[in-house]
C-alpha cells in the first residue's frame, strides 16, 4: 500500500469509512476522518482504496518561505534541534526536529525583521558530545566575525547547561551577547513557551551583556524570562517551563517580552573582541558518590585512559574514606597523576575541604581539587578546558580554582538558595 500523507482513502470492512491517510505501522493504518479524529484500522480486517491524491494547498511552509530580506539582519539564530524545533512526526509517532529555519519565524514572527535563522545541526541535546560544543563554538565565532551583533542559540533543554558552560569557557572574552534558549513545551502547540523564550532571547541578544547566558521562563506564568549566567544554570525540573534556575548566584536579570530588562546582578559588558579557545580534553568522566559507592570505578576509569574525573560528593564534598575501595581508588589516581575535582551533590552551597577530617585526609592526595561553589556540571566541562591547556597538576589546580567567567563565587550571598 503506497499512500501518502493527506491522500483520501476508503476502508472497507465490517463498515465502510472514508478519510485521509495519516500513517501506516505494523499491521494497522491510521486515517483521519472528516471530523478530525484519527482512527486505527486493522489491516487484516479492512481493505484500503485510494480515492483522491493529496492536493498541496494552503501549506504554511510553502507560503511563508518566499520572502528574502535584502538588508542584513543583526542577530544570528543558530538552531541545533531540541523540543523547540519539534514538529509532529508520523514516522515515529512523536515529536522530532524540523529542518526548516523559517519555522522559528512561525513560532515568533517578531524575529523576522532582526534575526537571520539557520539550522546548524539537529540533535536532541541528550545525544550531544563535547565535539559538538566545539562545532557550535566555532560557528558562533564565525558569525561574530561576520559582523552579527548578537547570537541566539536554540537547542534541547536536557543538557543545555552543559553546552552553556562549554561555550562560556570557549568564548572568553566575548564581544556580543550569546543567548541560549529552547522550550519545555513543544512549539507545535498554542501554549508553547517557545514564543516568549525567543522574543526574550532576542531582547538579551541586543543588550550589553557580553556573556553566554541561558534565557528561559522565570515562572510558570508567561510573565518574564530569567537571564542566567551560562556557568550557573541548571535544569532543575523535568518539565516545568521555569525549570532552569540560577544556582549559588543571582540571575543576571529578568527580561520581559516588551524589551524591558531588570538587572539583578552584575555582568561583564561586551568585550572588544571575541577570543575562541577550542582546546579541550574530552576524556573526563563524572561520578557520584553515595552509601555503597564502589571506589574501584575510579581505578577503572584511570586504567581506561581518562585524563580527569569529577566526583559529586556528599555534603561539603565528603567521600566515604572508610571504604577501602575509595581510599585505594584515590591513591591510584594520585599515583597516575589524574586530577579529581570534588563538587557537592547538594547542588547548592560551597564545598569545604577543611571542616571534616575525612576531607583533610582526601586533601593529602595531591590530585584532589576543591572548587568551592562551582556546579558539578560546570566543573566537569571546565576540567576539560584545564586539561586541554596543561598537563601540569599545579597549573590544572590553579585553572580550576580561579574564577574565569563567573563560575565561582568569592562571597556566599545569603539570598541565593532555591530562587
Amino acid at each position: 500500500m503506497d499512500f501518502e500523507k493527506g491522500d483520501k482513502i476508503k476502508a472497507i470492512g465490517e463498515i465502510e469509512i472514508e478519510g485521509f491517510f495519516v500513517k501506516e505501522e505494523d499491521n494497522y493504518i491510521i486515517i483521519k476522518l472528516s471530523s478530525g479524529y484519527d482512527i486505527v484500522l486493522n489491516k487484516d480486517k479492512f481493505k484500503f482504496e485510494l480515492k483522491e491524491k493529496n492536493k498541496e494547498e494552503n501549506k504554511l511552509s510553502n507560503k511563508e518561505n518566499k520572502e528574502s530580506f535584502k538588508e542584513k539582519r543583526n542577530i544570528s539564530l543558530i538552531a541545533t534541534g531540541g523540543t523547540i524545533a519539534s514538529k509532529v512526526d508520523y514516522k515515529i509517532g512523536g515529536v522530532s526536529p524540523s529542518l526548516d529555519p523559517s519555522y522559528y519565524y512561525q513560532i515568533a514572527p517578531e524575529l523576522k525583521e532582526e534575526v537571520e535563522a539557520e539550522t546548524f545541526m539537529n540533535i536532541f541535546s541528550e545525544n550531544l558530545l563535547p565535539k559538538h560544543w566545539i562545532e557550535i563554538g566555532k560557528e558562533i565565532n564565525k558569525k561574530i566575525k561576520e559582523g552579527y551583533k548578537g547570537i541566539i542559540l536554540t537547542m534541547g533543554t536536557d543538557t543545555m547547561h552543559y553546552t552553556a558552560s562549554a561555550l562560556s569557557f570557549m568564548l572568553n572574552p566575548l564581544s556580543v551577547p550569546v543567548v541560549i534558549t529552547g522550550s519545555q513545551r513543544s512549539s507545535d502547540r498554542g501554549s508553547t513557551d517557545a514564543h516568549q523564550n525567543l522574543v526574550c532571547s532576542l531582547n538579551v541578544a541586543k543588550s550589553e551583556i557580553g556573556e553566554v547566558t541561558i534565557c528561559m521562563h522565570g515562572e510558570i506564568s508567561d510573565s518574564f524570562n530569567l537571564i542566567i549566567r551560562g556557568t550557573r544554570a541548571r535544569k532543575m525540573h523535568t518539565e516545568r517551563r521555569d525549570a532552569f534556575r540560577s544556582i549559588n548566584d543571582k540571575p543576571i536579570g529578568k527580561v520581559y517580552p516588551n524589551g524591558k530588562i531588570e538587572f539583578i546582578n552584575s555582568y561583564r559588558k561586551k568585550a572588544e573582541d571575541t577570543v575562541l579557545n577550542v582546546n579541550l580534553e574530552d576524556k573526563v568522566q563524572l561520578l557520584y558518590s553515595y552509601p555503597g559507592f564502589d571506589g574501584e570505578v575510579i581505578k577503572y576509569y584511570v586504567d581506561k585512559g581518562f585524563k580527569g574525573l569529577v566526583i559529586a560528593a556528599t555534603g561539603f564534598g565528603n567521600l566515604p574514606m572508610e571504604y577501602e575501595s575509595v581510599k585505594e581508588g584515590l591513591k591510584y589516581a594520585n599515583e597516575k597523576n589524574v586530577p579529581i575535582v570534588i563538587t557537592s551533590q547538594t547542588i547548592y552551597g560551597s564545598t569545604n575541604p577543611f571542616v571534616y577530617s575525612t576531607s583533610r585526609e582526601m586533601s593529602k592526595f595531591n590530585n584532589i581539587i576543591y572548587v568551592k561553589d562551582m556546579l558539578t556540571e560546570t566543573a566537569y566541562v571546565k576540567l576539560m578546558f584545564a586539561l586541554g591547556k596543561t598537563k601540569d597538576m599545579e597549573e590544572i589546580k590553579e585553572f580550576m580554582k580561579k574564577n574565569l567567567v563567573g563560575e565561582i563565587s568569592e562571597k556566599s550571598e545569603i539570598d541565593t538558595f532555591l530562587i
Partner: protein, 593 residues
C-alpha cells in the same frame, strides 16, 4: 428544520489524565498568566477558528484550585488514561449501539479561546454509527467521544478572560447525532429523554454537568451550531426563535441585499460632538482615552432596526459579532434616541456625516484598531445580507436568543497527542461493555416492570443500581420506591437521619412477603427513630403485622354493606395500618359474587 444534537456530560470519576478528583471548587489557591500563539497542526494548515481567536486579546489568567496539578497547568505530560472513565464511555457507546474500536488514539483539539492552558483539549473517538431509541424512532448517533472538560470562565480583568481550572480535566462524554428532521418541541422532548438516559450511568449531577448543543439548519439556510442549552425548559422557544432568525435574515437579504453596494469602510472621528453628552457609555469611554468613530450607511435607514427575532434586531447581530471579536459595542441610528443620546445628538451626528433620512449611521467607542473594527462591521453586514452564515453561536437564556461566538472549526483543528501511545482496549473491557448493548430508558423500565415516570424518580434519587439489584431478588419497583425513596426521604426530612440500608432491605422483604401493609412502612420507620428500637421490636410492640387473611375476611364480612372507603377507614381506625386497601377490595368483591 433539520437538527443535530450534541450532548456533553461529565462522568463521576477522577480526572481523565491525572489523579485529581473531579469537583467544582470555590477555593482558589493560586493564579498564573499565559499568552497564546498561532499553532500549526498535522497538515501544516492554520485553522480558521484559530486564526479568528488570534484577533482577540491573547493573554489569559488561570485560577488554580486544590484539585489541579502540573498536568492541568500544562507543566507535565498527561498520565495514563483513567480506566474507569474509559470503561464508562465504552459502556455508553455500546448502549447506543455504536461500532467501537480495538485500539484508540488520543487526539489534541486546538482550543485557542484560552479555556485550556495547554491550548488544546484531549479527545478520543470511542464509537461511531449507533442509534438511540426514542419513542418509535431510532435517532442516528454519529459519534461517541471521551474528552477532558475545559476550564470555566469566571470573569475578566482588563479585557483578559479569567478561567478557573477546577473543572479542567473532568472526563466528559460527548454524544453527537446525525441531523434529523424534527420540530422544536420534539427536540426538547428528545433532549429531556436523553438527559434521563445519561443518568442510567455513573455521571456527575448538578448544574453544568450536562451541556447540550444543537446544530440547526432550515430548508434555505446552512448549519448553525448553537452551544450551551443548560435549561431545557426554554429549548423549544429558543429553537423557534432561531428558526425565525434564519427566516428573517433571508427575508431581509432578499429585500435589502442590494444595498451592500453602498457600503464603504470610511470612519469619522466624532468624539468632539460628545463633549457635553449625557450618555454615560460615551462619556466614560472618552474619559478612559477612547475615541468615538462613526460610519455612514447610505440607504440603510430601518435596516439596522429590523427585527430578526422577538428580542433581537439586525443591529444586534452586528453588535454581537463585534463584541466577540473586539469586545466593542455599536450604537446605531435606528435605536436612537437612547442610552443617554438625545434626538439632538442624533441630529448633530447626521449633519456631521451628511446623512439624509434614508441613511443610517452607527458608531463605536475604542482606543485602538478602529480601521480593523470598521472592516469587520462591513464584512459582517455583507455576510448577513447574502445568507445566514454558518457559524458557532451561544444561547443567551435571558433574551431567549443566540449570539455569535466564533467561526466553525475544520478538520485542521485536531492532531495526535504525541505524549501518549495508542491505547489498546483489553478484551475484558469490551466484554463488560457488551452487557450494556441497546440499553435504554425504556428497556430499563421494562426490566424493572415499571413506568418511565417511576423510573425517572429512581434515577433522580441515584438508586438505580440498588433497584435493579433488589428487583432480581424479587422486590418489585413500587415496594422499592415506597421503602427506599419515600420512606428513606421521610425520615431524612423529619429527623435529619439516614436509615441503614440493611433495615430498608428488611422492610422491603417484609412488604414483598406481605407481612406488613404499605401504610405501615412510614409508621415503622418513624417509631424506629423515635424509640430507638429495631424493626422487629417495633412491629411486635405496636402490633403492626398485617391482619391475616382469615381474620380479615371475618371483619369485612361484618361490614360488607358499607362502602369500600368506609370499610378501609374503619378497619384502619380500629386496628392501625395493618391492612392494604386492595386486599379489602378483593375480599369484598368475592363476598358480593
Amino acid at each position: 428544520m433539520k437538527c443535530g444534537f450534541e450532548w456533553h456530560f461529565q462522568l463521576n470519576t477522577r480526572k481523565l489524565f491525572c489523579e485529581d478528583i473531579s469537583e467544582i471548587s470555590e477555593e482558589v489557591v493560586g493564579k498564573i498568566r499565559r499568552k497564546f500563539n498561532l499553532s500549526i497542526s498535522e497538515f501544516d494548515e492554520i485553522d480558521e477558528s484559530a486564526k479568528f481567536e488570534i484577533k482577540k486579546s491573547r493573554e489569559v489568567i488561570y485560577e488554580i484550585c486544590k484539585n489541579d496539578c502540573l498536568v492541568d497547568v500544562d507543566e507535565e505530560p498527561p498520565h495514563e488514561i483513567n480506566k474507569e472513565a474509559l470503561q464508562l464511555a465504552l459502556n455508553i457507546a455500546t448502549a447506543l449501539n455504536c461500532k467501537t474500536f480495538d485500539k484508540i488514539i488520543v487526539m489534541r483539539k486546538n482550543i485557542v479561546d484560552g479555556s485550556v492552558p495547554s491550548g488544546f483539549q484531549r479527545t478520543i473517538l470511542i464509537g461511531i454509527d449507533g442509534y438511540y431509541n426514542f419513542k418509535d424512532k431510532k435517532i442516528p448517533i454519529s459519534t461517541v467521544c471521551l474528552e477532558e472538560d475545559a476550564g470555566r470562565k469566571v470573569g475578566e480583568e482588563d479585557g483578559k478572560p479569567i478561567y478557573r481550572l477546577d473543572r479542567l480535566g473532568i472526563p466528559l462524554v460527548e454524544v453527537s447525532t446525525k441531523p434529523i428532521e424534527t420540530t422544536p418541541e420534539e427536540a426538547k422532548e428528545l433532549a429531556t429523554s436523553f438527559g434521563l438516559f445519561t443518568r442510567l450511568f455513573n455521571v456527575r449531577r448538578g448544574i453544568g454537568t450536562i451541556r447540550q448543543d444543537v446544530n440547526l439548519s432550515t430548508e434555505k439556510s446552512n448549519r448553525v451550531e448553537i452551544k450551551g442549552f443548560q435549561n431545557l425548559r426554554k429549548m423549544d422557544k429558543i429553537i423557534n426563535e432561531e428558526i425565525n432568525r434564519h427566516e428573517n435574515l433571508i427575508k431581509l437579504a432578499q429585500e435589502k441585499g442590494d444595498l451592500i453596494k453602498y457600503l464603504n469602510n470610511e470612519i469619522y472621528d466624532i468624539t468632539n460632538l460628545f463633549t457635553e453628552t449625557q450618555s454615560k457609555i460615551v462619556s466614560e469611554g472618552i474619559k478612559k482615552g477612547k475615541r468615538v468613530y462613526a460610519m455612514k450607511l447610505p440607504n440603510f435607514s430601518g435596516v439596522l432596526g429590523f427585527k430578526v427575532q422577538t428580542n433581537k434586531r439586525f443591529g444586534g447581530e452586528i453588535g454581537d459579532y463585534l463584541k466577540a471579536l473586539y469586545n466593542v459595542s455599536i450604537i446605531h441610528s435606528d435605536e436612537l434616541p437612547s442610552y443617554g443620546i438625545t434626538e439632538n445628538d442624533k441630529q448633530k451626528i447626521k449633519e456631521f456625516l451628511k446623512c439624509e433620512d434614508k441613511d443610517a449611521f452607527l458608531f463605536f467607542i475604542t482606543d485602538s484598531k478602529e480601521k480593523e473594527i470598521a472592516n469587520a462591521i462591513i464584512e459582517r453586514i455583507n455576510t448577513l445580507l447574502k445568507e445566514v452564515p454558518s457559524e458557532v453561536r451561544f444561547v443567551d437564556e435571558n433574551s431567549e436568543t443566540t449570539k455569535f461566538l466564533r467561526p466553525i472549526g475544520g478538520k485542521e483543528r485536531m492532531y495526535i497527542e504525541t505524549d501518549l501511545p495508542i491505547i489498546e482496549i483489553p478484551k475484558e473491557m469490551k466484554e463488560t461493555a457488551e452487557k450494556y448493548r441497546n440499553l435504554s430508558v425504556e428497556s430499563i423500565a421494562k426490566k424493572l416492570d415499571t413506568t418511565l415516570e417511576k423510573l425517572e424518580v429512581i434515577v433522580e434519587e441515584g438508586k438505580l443500581g440498588m433497584a435493579l439489584d433488589l428487583h432480581e431478588k424479587g422486590i418489585n419497583t413500587d415496594d422499592f420506591i415506597r421503602v427506599f425513596i419515600e420512606g428513606y426521604n421521610f425520615v431524612k426530612n423529619k429527623f435529619g437521619k439516614e436509615i441503614d440500608k440493611n433495615d430498608l432491605i428488611k422492610l422491603a422483604y417484609l412488604l414483598k412477603d406481605r407481612k406488613i401493609a404499605k401504610e405501615a412502612v412510614r409508621v415503622i420507620l418513624e417509631k424506629m427513630i423515635e424509640e430507638g428500637k429495631s424493626i422487629e421490636e417495633i412491629i411486635k410492640e405496636h402490633n403492626l403485622w398485617k391482619i391475616e387473611e382469615d381474620k380479615l375476611k371475618e371483619i369485612v364480612e361484618k361490614m360488607k354493606n358499607l362502602s369500600l372507603d368506609r370499610i378501609i377507614m374503619t378497619i384502619r381506625g380500629k386496628y392501625g395500618p395493618v391492612v392494604d386497601a386492595e386486599d379489602i377490595a378483593r375480599i369484598l368483591k368475592n363476598l358480593n359474587e
